[in-house]
Amino acid sequence: MAPALDSGAFQRNAIHALDSAVSDTRTSALALQNYLAARVPRPYADTVVTESEDAIGPVEDSFGAVDPPSPSDKRLRDEVGALLSDAGDELAAARIALRRNDPAEMMQSVKTLRGLAERMEQRSEGLS
């Protein structure tokens, strides 16, 4: 664990983590959508979704490894941590749905991933 230098540095960390997560969730949503529309083959979509899932783990870890410098930053840490965790869980769900070739689950995942990306983007913009 390493403490952030100040609240500004901690918020920049949070913005960076949220932006990366937005990117990963939207990429996966796009891959699922394209697969459902028969525009990309399954191995391709699977690779893209798996890479997004693999990418979000280190984002979560590196954000979680920084100590919040103040009580308000602690609240931010919990909030962003929960969003990142939800995104990680949903990416795993998307990968499972894709590998099971379950269209209903995939459609649900697309919706959830888009919603999560929207929330994370708004939170990131709120911090900017």
Partner: protein
Amino acid sequence: MKKLFAIALGILTAIGGFVDIGDLVTNGLVGARFGLSLVWVVLLGIIGICVFAEMSGRVAAVSGRATFDLVRERLGPRVGLLNLFASMAVTLLTFIAEIGGVALALQLATRVNPYLWIPVVGAAVWIVLWRVKFAVLENAFGLAGLALVVFAVTLWKLDPDWADLWRQASRPFVPHDESHTTYFYYAVALFGAAMTPYEVFFFSSGGVEEGWTSDDLGTMRANVFIGFPLGGLLSVAIAAVAAVVYLPQGVEVDTLGQIGMPVGQALGVLGIALVLLGFFAATFGAACETGLSVGYSIAQYLGWQWGKFVAPLKAARFHSVVLLSAVVAVGVLLTTIDPIMLTEYSVVFSAVALPLTYFPILVVANDRTYMGRDVNGRLANTLGTVYLVVVLVAAVAAIPLMIVTKAGQ
């Protein structure tokens, strides 16, 4: 008619062979983050590579000898060694990245983990370099690389706001959420990707492999001045596609799968098949070129017999270097290093090595002893000198920018 066919084939393979893993990754990444605001760097790089490729091709055609061979003779063993070290280190790094790129392309097609593909790809590259004729190798991968034209078709099918794209390209700007240092870090990376040192070494050594003479200067220039810029347009198309699809969504592009996905979105599974063929041909072809370039540079510096124009037994040391490079590449990649990250670093280090690569070429192309009446003219010297200043600035700025921006974060 035969000559016309040779020119057309040369141009087509130059277009298809222009893009490699560095161009794919850097243009995709930059397009998604900066739109087309860095397209001026690609154009700057294309003109630069044309200037120096023409020079090194002319040296090969007129003197019948390749660049490293002459650099050591003309500038002495010490400068030659510096030139060798800088260029070879970057070329080896690029070779490793290309093999990683082939494995990633195969993963997209099969879902099989790239680390399982890496030894297979390393062995395949070595077998091709050992057994396949130079012309077959160059033409097959160059022509298959033309599949990447699918990015231009995708851009057209996406029906973007052309006026907006033109505005981004014609009036360079730093996006509000990016810093100037990050902007210029990626400018250096794009420049390094466009002017990768191996391209000129491979081009000049390839000229010797194919037995170019002064009579082939016209064909060589057609390849360079038509083929390279059209190949560069493919790089711009890749950046533009990423800008249209990913920039508005705030998606950061850092995988090969992301770079190709808009093609599927626009053209369906057939588009994906073509883009995978293009990825494979571009990376495998470039792996062959960089693998050969490592062998060329060492063998030419040390005065060994080199090339595929002689039987492997007669150039055993050259082929041993190529084999050793393939083993090193596979070994490095199996440490589980990320090939995309390696590519991002290789294009920046490529920028650092540029002056050491291009200065000696300018010197040799000005030496009447080798060049006779085909020595550099005023235009070639003016452009060569201007570009030396540009590459020097890029080389000096590369590492500080990498440190300040934490490699573009």
